[in-house]
């Protein structure tokens, strides 16, 4: 090798890089939702089992391959077998799609962060209507937080067909997000290695602060009790197990090539088995930790809404029956209601339709995930806390750190193969390649800042990575075990690290994990086929809520293209290599 490969300054930087990449937004906004949907405390059972059976083995495999081959994903898989160059290319394509849409989340986090320095917080009050007699109509029908998200941040159009124009405010934030990412990856491991100290550690500081604050909030215990009461019957639900497997799979970020890229900058003697266990356990504990915080905040929000609902009912009854102000309280509400029903039956029946049945359970059951959780539900809870500006700033700063940490991994997955390739790196220096990748991603990412951008974001979020990754990791596992040879790989690792390979890893790699991935793949494929036409949730401004609509044909075509462009790389790569070899053999045969 002509030039020494850049290395991590300390193994700690490598561990932090992996943690910073794996611990991302999914730990904060997807795991609590799954926990809530699939039985609370009892969801931990499938989750931990899947971690041991699927997460750790596959993570170890990727790290070991990267450390052994000391190249990015394309080079690494080409070394294992020339027919597998397509796998590396598929990883790069998927990472490219991911980085395109993922940084938009960072842009939104920036937007909310910059707006947190105002009093009152802009999403806590509705703007006034034209003649200042009331609030804006859309805001009244929805809530102020929903209005701020759908109208002020996204300026969303009613359907995906109406693209609208690029919104300059989110576009500016997107450009800033890409500049920040460029700054962090500019010098390769030298700069990334220092940045990951912050992106890995700061979110934990904020989560600790939020844990203390969350547990002391009024009504937090309601949320925690709701989450942790196990609903054991959910264990029999196959969806719980499938979602646990999927969550572990995507939470660790397998198959993108980022882990291979990070591990390729390791010393060959690095003990990656120890690091695998550390990273995967920290990732899962962070998910559980984040869900404790999330549920205490849920509990606070639900209790607050429940009490407001009760107060509204009290006000309604007080005004309709001209009762003394302060006479009706939460404790005597029921008996007074029955008294009024008997004493003034006609008037009571008039008022009755407007009396809402307030229930704490129904408030807790509103399960939300994704951007809805982060930008609508959390902001609603934050606006009711004291010193809400401080909590808001902390929260969005944490989201930003989590997002940037994951972006570092995504861009590393794209850049490492490019800088490894001698053709490209001889023409352009490292800084220029990084700059070009960031520029291209930013330019395409402007699509997501259009009025219909959020709908395209959902398409990318749901379909760009899921099926392709399952296929990629399946091919990876099968390739290492059966194409390269498990024994050969085992002796490679022993020579490299000095430790023998535990039988557990061999059993998992050879049998259990590929079977699991195949079953996940079959499940998702059949799910997509059975559901038929895909639908999406569109925001209806006149009603102030989401409505379901069908995707137009061209959107379906683009979705199909997304999935095909990455999965087709694998067979096309193998085919290409086969043809080239065949031609070469034909040439040498004719020459000889």
């Amino acid at each position: 090798m002509d030039e020494a490969r850049p290395l991590w300054a300390t193994p700690l930087q490598f561990v932090f890089a992996c943690i910073s990449y794996a611990v991302g937004l999914g730990n904060v906004w997807r795991f609590p939702y799954l926990c809530q949907m699939y039985g609370g405390g009892s969801f931990l059972v499938p989750y931990i089992i899947m971690l041991a059976v699927e997460g750790m083995p596959l993570l170890y495999l990727e790290l070991a391959v990267g450390q052994r081959m000391r190249q990015g994903s394309i080079g690494a898989w080409r070394t294992i077998s020339p027919y597998l160059s397509g796998v590396g290319v598929a990883s790069v394509v998927v990472s490219f799609f991911l980085s395109m849409y993922y940084n938009v989340i960072n842009a939104w986090a920036f937007w909310y962060l910059f707006h947190s320095f105002q009093d009152p917080l802009p999403w806590s009050v509705c703007p006034l209507n034209g003649n200042r007699t009331g609030y804006d109509e859309e805001c009244e029908k929805a809530s102020s937080t929903q209005y701020f998200w759908y109208r002020k941040t996204l300026n969303i159009s009613p359907s995906i067909q109406e693209s609208g124009a690029v919104q300059w405010e989110p576009a500016l934030c997107l450009i800033l997000a890409w500049l920040l990412v460029y700054l962090c990856i500019l010098r390769g491991t030298e700069s990334t290695g220092k940045v990951v100290y912050f992106t890995a550690l700061l979110p934990y500081c904020v989560l600790m602060i939020y844990l203390v604050r969350g547990l002391t909030l009024h009504g937090a215990t309601n949320g925690l009790a709701y989450m942790f009461t196990p609903k054991v019957e959910q264990l029999a639900n196959p969806k719980a197990w499938i979602n646990a497997a999927t969550q572990i799979f995507f939470s660790l970020g397998l198959g993108f090539g980022s882990l291979i890229a990070f591990a390729s900058y390791n010393e060959p003697s690095n003990d990656c088995q120890k690091h695998t266990v550390i990273v995967s356990i920290i990732n899962s504990s962070t998910s559980i930790f984040a869900s404790v915080v999330t549920f205490s905040i849920y509990g606070f929000k639900a209790t607050f809404n429940y009490e407001s609902c009760l107060n509204k009912v009290i006000l309604l009854l007080t005004n309709s029956f001209d009762l003394e102000d302060g006479f009706l309280t939460v404790s005597n509400l029921e008996e007074v209601k029955s008294y009024l029903a008997s004493a003034y039956p006609s008037k009571y029946s008039e008022v009755f339709p407007q009396i809402k049945n307030c229930s704490l359970e129904s408030e807790l059951e509103t399960a939300v995930q994704g951007t809805g959780l982060a930008f609508i539900v959390y902001t609603e809870a934050i606006k009711n806390m004291e010193v809400s500006q401080l909590w808001s700033v902390l929260y969005f700063f944490m989201l930003l750190m989590l997002g940037i940490g994951s972006m570092l991994g995504n861009t590393a997955a794209i850049l490492t193969p490019l800088t490894d390739s001698k053709v490209i790196s001889s023409y352009l220096p490292k800084e220029a390649i990084s700059g070009l990748v960031c520029l291209v991603n930013c330019a395409i990412g402007l699509v997501f800042t259009m009025e219909a951008g959020n709908y395209w974001f959902d398409i990318f979020n749901d379909y760009a990575a899921t099926l392709s990754l399952l296929l990629i990791v399946l091919v990876e596992t099968v390739a290492v075990c059966y194409l390269y040879g498990l024994r050969r790989f085992e002796s490679d690792l022993k020579a490299m690290t000095g430790h023998a390979l535990n039988w557990y890893w061999k059993a998992m790699w050879g049998g259990v994990s590929p079977l699991l991935i195949i079953s996940l793949f079959v499940f998702y494929l059949s799910d997509y086929i059975i559901t038929g036409t895909l639908q999406y949730q569109a925001w209806d401004a006149s009603q102030g809520q989401l409505v379901t609509k069908d995707y137009p044909p061209y959107a379906l075509a683009i979705t199909g293209l997304l999935v095909a462009s990455s999965t087709m790389c694998i067979p096309l790569g193998a085919l290409g290599t086969f043809i080239v070899r065949h031609l070469k053999r034909g040439d040498t045969a004719s020459v000889a």
Binding site: M1, Q118, D325, G326
Partner: protein, 222 residues
């Protein structure tokens, strides 16, 4: 006779002020919600103050400067506390149009609220919408200022890193030629010990030994 007249007058007044009467408005106060323990009791003195405030508001309307407290009629006071009121003209036979009363109250809403230590939500005039305070709109939105600061910091840091990288690369390119300079400098510094210059190995007369070829040429590239 006088008693009959009194009854007649109150009867007429009672006709003018009734729930849902023409030009009548309902008022609702939530004293305990607003003031908690410091809530005062609603008695006839407070009603008098209310009539005075309404009369005051009407007097500020052009053509209605002659409105007196006795022209404001209250009725149907409940425990809530809520009641209806009308404003009559000087002849006490007709009530003033609702539109005039509405605009007068809207103009002076703040004064009326303050007189009772209440606000728009706790002293409600049904059917008289209150003018909501517009949110303070600074000339430059705050978020742009913070965005500008962060943007400039990131740009400056990026420029610094790029420039230092370019400088480092230029230094590496000049590396081989610089190496010879340092060797010359080393030759020129004569080591002195006890005031007597030592004569180190005679480097100036060094020749390249052709038998010993440099590594670059001999080893084939990997």
């Amino acid at each position: 006779m006088l008693w009959l007249l009194f009854v007649l007058v109150t009867a007429i007044h009672a006709d003018l002020c009734q729930p849902d009467a023409e030009n009548a408005f309902k008022v609702r106060l939530s004293l305990r919600t607003a003031l908690g323990d410091k809530a005062y009791a609603w008695d006839t003195n407070e009603e008098y103050l209310f009539k005075a405030m309404v009369a005051f508001s009407m007097r500020r309307v052009p053509n209605r400067e002659a409105t007196e407290i006795s022209h404001v009629l209250l009725c149907n006071v409940t425990q809530r506390v809520s009641f209806w009121f009308v404003v009559t003209d000087p002849s006490r036979n007709h009530t003033l149009p609702a539109v005039e009363v509405q605009s007068a109250i809207r103009m002076n809403r703040n004064r009326i609220n303050n007189a009772f230590f209440l606000n728009d939500q706790t002293l409600e005039f049904l059917r008289i919408p209150s003018t909501l305070a517009p949110p303070t709109d600074p000339s430059v939105p705050i978020w742009i200022i913070i965005f500008g600061v962060v943007f400039c910091i990131v740009i400056v840091a990026t420029m610094l890193l790029i420039l230092s990288g370019i400088r480092q690369r230029r230094r590496e390119n000049k590396g081989p030629s610089e190496m010879e300079d340092t060797e010359d400098k080393w030759e020129n510094t004569i080591t002195i010990e006890n005031g007597i210059p030592c004569d180190p190995l005679d480097m100036k007369g060094g020749h390249v030994n052709d038998a010993f070829v440099t590594e670059d040429e001999r080893l084939t590239p990997l």
